[in-house]
């Protein structure tokens, strides 16, 4: 009997999303099927994260309309469904961007998510790789109708590596699932209810598990940030390269976010949906040592530039095909330009002697104080 089952060809389910048909394995969710098609028919997802079991269904950004249930039962589903948690049926027809109901509901969800989320992108470390930023750009409105004070939280220190900005949190639960499923002990979770719910450690504990740094990677907004990278640079000024090292704790495959020869940040490698990639059938979670301690290029074997297929400002770094602009000044004036002023002689900022990746916290004025450095102009005076 078992052999007979094995011999049967795997049955595929046909699903049509926004008039585009695809055949997928049974058990595939609508969202996964849409991602296989790609492009605009893919619903956004703020809380769903493929490697995390049980995630999804909470943010409601991926709601879609099922206009035909299946070949056997063609009745439409009465309510919009969360595409990340609804599996396809054979002959199912789904409307995403072709449904006014969906677009209307999604605009509502974006508005709800932005009610209390501060629009502090100019100072947020997640700017440029924030899923909520992308979502609000694609489905949000220019203005807000919310006239009340936004919800704020007191700063909550989570230990040496991770900073929690609860005010920015959209309660997607991804970090809770990560801590539950990736680390051997979860020390944080959701406290309280409703719009006063918060991610917290109950009694000001620090998150110091070997793999807890992964909560930074899964956070879709800037609620959980890397203390070793905070305020060091904007992501679009850094160049991501794939690298690896032999690590006895994790897969050791990472993306280095570099500025020149400096390694400003280390993250796990992500796919086009912002999710951690898998290697050899295992999810590529990385350990704290790789993420926070290995900030020298010499620690790593560089594989090459990271492909950034995701539609984001990081994509502006098309440095793989960088062409040097033609020098126009010598062509016009007939000689090389003279150096009239070296900015480092008059300004303390961005001194070449300061290795941003090595300083423990954000780069403040004190870091660039030349007297403090002991090698600047002021000291010479």
């Amino acid at each position: 009997m078992a052999d007979e089952i094995k011999k049967e060809a795997p049955q595929k389910f046909k699903v049509t999303i926004d008039n585009i048909s695809i055949e997928v394995d049974p058990g595939t969710t609508i969202l996964q099927a849409a991602r296989m098609i790609g492009g605009d028919v893919t619903p956004p997802a703020m809380c769903y994260y493929t490697p995390l079991q049980g995630s999804g269904g909470k943010c409601r950004t991926c709601l879609v309309e099922v206009s035909k249930g299946s070949e056997k039962d063609p009745r439409p589903m009465p309510k919009l469904v969360a595409s990340c948690r609804t599996t396809v049926m054979d002959g199912m027809e789904v409307k995403n961007i072709t449904s006014d109901r969906v677009l209307n509901a999604r605009a509502g969800v974006v508005e709800f998510l932005l009610l209390n989320h501060p629009l502090d992108c100019p100072i947020c470390d997640q700017a440029g790789e924030c899923h909520l930023q992308d979502l609000s750009y694609e489905h949000g409105k220019a203005g807000t109708r919310y006239e009340f004070k936004k919800r704020t939280f007191k700063p909550h220190n989570l230990g040496p590596y991770i900073q929690l900005h609860m005010t920015r949190c959209i309660l997607c639960y991804r970090c809770v699932f990560t801590a539950d499923q990736v680390t051997n002990k979860r020390q944080h979770g959701v406290l309280d209810r409703g719009d006063h719910a918060q991610i917290a450690t109950y009694i000001e504990k620090s998150l110091d598990n070997d793999f807890i740094g992964n909560v930074i990677d899964v956070c879709p907004v800037g609620a959980l940030t890397d203390k070793t990278f905070r305020f060091k640079n904007r992501v679009w000024f850094t160049k991501p390269v794939d690298a690896h090292r032999n690590c006895d704790k994790c897969c050791g495959k990472v993306t280095l976010w570099r500025r020149g020869d400096e390694v400003l940040r280390v993250t796990a490698r992500k796919d086009q949906w912002g999710e951690i990639q898998s290697y050899d059938g295992k999810t590529g979670w990385i350990c704290n040592e790789c993420r926070f301690e290995k900030k020298n290029v010499s620690d790593w074997v560089i594989e090459g530039p990271t492909a950034v297929p995701r539609h984001s400002v990081i994509g502006v770094n098309h440095y793989q095909r960088l062409e040097q602009p033609k020098e126009t000044i010598p062509a016009v004036i007939g000689r090389q330009p003279k150096l009239l002023m070296d900015i480092h002689e008059v300004s303390d900022v961005n001194q070449p002697g300061v290795d941003l990746s090595k300083i423990p916290g954000p780069a403040t004025g004190a870091v660039f104080n030349q007297k403090h450095l002991g090698n600047g102009k002021k000291e010479q005076e």
Partner: protein, 415 residues
């Protein structure tokens, strides 16, 4: 009787779930998955927290043995050897009553191993909730029962397939399980003769608000709403001879109805105290039987104030798991506070309408709908009152509500 015979009798009785949704109980039981070697559970939902609903409390407080007998019969039908009563934390004293009744049943051989030499084992555990309205939602109840945060689960899978500890589970209201006893004693068909249409059996109604005799009433669902409010047998009319303004007929989560639509349907027929009649015309002109929390408002009551009170409740009780409910309920509460306190704008009313429409149907569990429907119905039927709060800001600020300030909602039904 075999377990299947019991299920069949409950099906024949036409009993509809008394927790609020009104889903046929027998059908729910027949959906229970029965995989080999996997235990199944019956869980009694005694987390009665809906404002205006206090009927299960009466049953448990005064006739706990009826519930326990119902649980034993239902457990036999469903093959549940371990059943639970999940009770709201605030009903602390009822826990003692139930525990005592369970012990009495155990002492008399009605619970435990090999009940009455039938070969059937069953035990009942009482589990106290920590006092969250959301834990009355069946999947949140299961999470809480398992010792986790009471967040609703995404369905499917339904509890009948994957419930408590991933085992097939049936969750039923206290009143539904208590009704199993008369169904088995009378027979399903005989029980179905009580009531009318698909509203079979009797129903407990917890009546409160501006009525002379608030309390819990067992009704045959053939009586009219008018009779229920005004007859001496039931509510005994409205105090001080005041006029009826509105009523929430099925617990705070169902739409409010103005007097004219409460006493008569949109077709001009008399509105009856049953599932079909109360929902006649959908939410445009009807409401729901819900859990039977019957809240009456006289002509002096301010609908904006009461809508704000309900919005405050739902905001506080939202679990915060999904964004429309978490953020939307808070936003509605703030807008209603502003309107109620004479600081609102005319555009706030339309904004409220739009917010509730974005919440309804888009959330994981029905709490979003429960928060949205009262607001929608209040605006639909009492928009003039919301506008009055904007145009008469000073009077609203000093809480000088009511007393014929508003347009009279008690209009004759158009022919």
């Amino acid at each position: 009787m075999s377990p299947d015979d019991v299920v069949e009798e409950v099906k024949k009785s036409g009993l509809r779930g008394r927790g609020g949704a009104g889903f046929p109980t027998g059908m729910k039981w027949s959906f229970l998955a029965k995989p080999e070697g996997v235990p199944r559970h019956l869980i009694v939902n005694a987390d009665e927290s809906e404002p205006g609903t206090f009927k299960d409390r009466y049953l448990m407080e005064h006739i706990p043995h009826l519930l326990i007998e119902g649980i034993i019969v239902a457990s036999y039908a469903l093959g549940s050897n371990t059943s639970f009563i999940y009770i709201r934390g605030e009903y602390a004293w009822i826990v003692d009553i139930l525990e005592q009744a369970i012990q009495e049943a155990r002492n008399n051989g009605f619970l435990g191993k090999n009940i009455l030499n039938s070969g059937f084992d069953c035990d009942i555990h009482v589990q106290r909730g920590a006092g969250a309205y959301i834990c009355g939602e069946e999947t949140a109840l299961l999470e809480s029962l398992e010792g986790k945060r009471g967040n609703p689960r995404i369905k499917p899978p339904f509890p009948a397939v994957k419930g408590a500890w991933d085992r097939p589970t049936v969750v039923n209201n206290v009143e539904s399980i208590s009704a199993v006893v008369p169904i088995i004693n009378l027979g399903g068909e005989e029980y179905a003769k009580i009531g009318v249409g698909k509203s079979t059996g009797t129903k407990l109604i917890s009546a409160c608000g501006n009525i002379n005799k608030p309390g819990v009433y067992e009704i045959d669902m053939t009586i009219s709403v008018e009779e229920f409010i005004y007859s001496d047998e039931y509510c005994g009319g409205i105090p001080n001879g005041k006029r009826l303004k509105a009523c929430i007929p099925g617990g705070s989560s169902v739409p409010i109805l103005p007097a004219n639509l409460l006493l008569k349907t949109a077709k001009g027929e008399q509105r009856m105290m049953n599932y079909e009649s109360l929902s006649d015309g959908g939410f445009q002109t009807g409401s729901m039987m819900g859990s039977g929390g019957f809240i009456v408002f006289d002509e002096d009551q301010c609908i904006v104030k009461h809508t704000y009170t309900l919005a405050r409740f739902y905001r506080h009780e939202s679990c915060g798991q999904c964004s429309p409910c978490r953020e939307g309920t808070g936003w509605m509460e703030k807008l209603l506070w502003r309107l109620e306190n004479g600081q609102g704008k005319m555009s706030d009313i339309d904004l409220l309408w739009e917010i509730q429409s974005k919440i309804e149907g888009n959330t994981i569990c029905p709490l979003g709908d429960a928060a949205a429907w009262p607001v929608a119905a209040a605006i639909r039927h009492f928009r003039d009152e919301f506008e009055w709060h904007v145009t008469h800001a000073e009077e609203a600020q000093v809480r000088n509500f009511g007393l014929a300030h508003y347009a009279d909602p008690i209009q004759p039904i158009p022919a």
